[in-house]
């Protein structure tokens, strides 16, 4: 998976596409609200970097994403681990979870807007809701996937309930919990940008919307690509950490 030739060959196609787009727009210059030449996009990107607007928007989006994850994924983690440990609790909670889970988090924007107004709190609430249920379900599954044998060993060794959870269940579930976190980060970023486009006037989503409304396709596409790179980069970072820390354990399962 790492450093195979395919990894570098993968970059050939996007580069060719960029060169082709640039060439096409040079040969036949087009005035458009939608497309822009790659070099124009690059110039817009550098300009946005230079005047710190992109940096500020990125910081706003990441802050809201982080806050939403902390509250939503944190809460989902605690609830999920508890439900994973206790089947009776899981049985009692399942109806509530199944009723709330399918609710699209962006549908909460109008309600959250009334409660919180514009700003971070609105965004964090929507992101938090979006990641809470995936994290809850994945954390429950992670705890249940701990080999029964390990649970038995901890009972035979007469560990207290708390040390059983702390010394056996949580470390055993940790690799899967980390995978869950990585998936939630992806969801959180999508919901952050969506909320910013739909209503919250801050962050990358709002910058994207502003660029579109001010008929600046080069800036709009620059931000779009930047969001893509950002999401890819964060996921890749987490993937690297996952492989470094948990590879052996995940492989075994």
């Amino acid at each position: 998976m790492s450093h195979s030739p395919g990894r570098w060959q993968g970059i050939v196609l996007p580069l060719l596409a960029l060169v082709a787009a640039e060439a096409a727009l040079r040969v036949r210059p087009t005035q458009s609200d939608v497309i822009a030449a790659p070099t124009a996009i690059l110039r817009a990107f550098l300009r946005a970097c230079a005047d710190a607007t992109l940096l500020q928007a990125t910081a706003q989006t990441l802050l809201a994403t982080g806050g939403g994850l902390l509250i939503g994924a944190g809460g989902g983690l605690v609830a999920g681990v508890l439900l994973g440990l206790s089947r009776p609790a899981a049985a009692r909670a399942s109806l509530l979870v199944e009723l709330l889970r399918p609710l699209p988090s962006v549908a909460l924007i109008p309600v959250a807007l009334l409660v919180f107004g514009f700003g971070y709190r609105l965004e964090i609430a929507v992101i938090g809701f979006a990641v809470f249920f995936p994290m809850l379900l994945l954390a429950t599954a992670a705890v249940r996937a701990v080999p029964q044998r390990l649970v038995e060993v901890s009972v035979i060794l007469r560990l207290s309930a708390w040390s059983r959870v702390r010394k056996v269940m949580l470390p055993a579930a940790l690799p899967r919990l980390f995978v869950a976190l990585r998936l939630c980060v992806g969801i959180a970023l999508v919901v952050a940008v969506t909320t910013e486009i739909a209503s919250n006037p801050q962050g990358l989503g709002f910058a994207l919307l502003s660029a579109q409304q001010s008929l600046a396709p080069d800036l709009m596409l620059a931000i779009l690509l930047w969001i893509g790179v950002l999401g890819w980069g964060i996921n890749n970072l987490l993937l690297q950490l996952e492989q470094r820390w948990f590879n052996a354990q995940l492989d075994k399962e």
Partner: protein
């Protein structure tokens, strides 16, 4: 390895009354509704004895072992330890599982895995370290204390699990087909190590296996169970093994008594037990 005289066999265990069995099963029955797993099982184990349980798969061998831990309660009859009904895991009852890879904590080192068994007790970290080193030395893993289980061979991982069980200073050691997943050579050396270790500590062993020769080689007594007991007793047969100790992988297995028992047990288990 030297041949022993039969006189060495008897190991009187001071302080324990030999006439009170350490473990006794009294008319024990167990159903996992609607299936009857164990029925009217009566036998007992004396302190210091090594008893093997054999029988076809599904005859309740593992269940029998879990009854001794108290993790499972009998549907009928009683399982007693020194006369008292067993109601839950005791600190000095240890289990060696067959699937060592699942029973060890992959994120802890060899030393850390042994430590888990000592962390429930009030022991200072310094004392614990001394004890861990001593236990790892006993099973020949002293040089591997800082490795992780996955870096060890199957035989070494099983040694590690045995070390963790010994950390409990078990009075009763329950072994659930512990050597079933190992190659023949490793299995034989672990059999001898296990005999040496339990002899040193006079531990009582209840050993589950599907390997009749292993059962004969290790045991003082073999209990054969039948699958699907119906109205019959689960206890199909008991074989007394009067082979001298310490036993020897080559000499013991060539003894006429060993061969006779082997023949008898095979014939017995091959018979259809309707």
């Amino acid at each position: 390895m030297t041949r022993a005289t039969p006189a060495l066999r008897a190991i009187p265990n001071p302080g324990v009354r030999a006439d009170v069995p350490l473990i006794s099963f009294d008319e024990v029955g167990l159903d996992f509704a609607p299936r009857r797993i164990i029925h009217r099982l009566t036998f007992s184990i004396a302190p210091g004895e090594i008893v093997s349980v054999v029988g076809p798969s599904g005859c309740g061998k593992t269940t029998l072992l879990r009854l001794v831990t108290g993790l499972v309660q009998p549907t009928r009859g009683s399982v007693r330890r020194e006369g008292r009904a067993i109601d839950g895991p005791a600190g000095d009852v240890a289990i060696v599982f067959q699937d060592y890879a699942n029973a060890l904590l992959p994120w802890r080192t060899v030393a850390g895995n042994v430590s888990l068994a000592l962390e429930a007790s009030a022991m200072s970290p310094a004392q614990r370290k001394v004890r861990i080193d001593e236990l790892l030395g006993k099973v020949g893993l002293a040089a591997h204390a800082n490795k992780f289980p996955r870096q060890l061979s199957g035989g070494m991982q099983q040694r590690l699990q045995i070390a963790r069980c010994l950390a409990q200073e078990p009075t009763i050691l329950l072994m659930d087909e512990p050597f079933g997943a190992l190659d023949a050579m490793t299995r034989q050396s672990l059999q001898d190590e296990m005999l040496r270790l339990v002899r040193e500590t006079r531990t009582t062993v209840l050993f589950i296996t599907h390997d009749l020769e292993e059962a004969i080689y290790l045991s003082d007594r073999i209990i054969a169970l039948r699958a699907n007991p119906g109205e019959q007793s689960s206890l199909a047969h008991t074989f007394q093994v009067d082979l001298p100790r310490p036993r020897d992988q080559l000499a013991t297995r060539e003894e006429p008594e060993f061969l006779r028992l082997r023949r008898q047990a095979f014939d017995y288990l091959l018979e259809p037990q309707a």
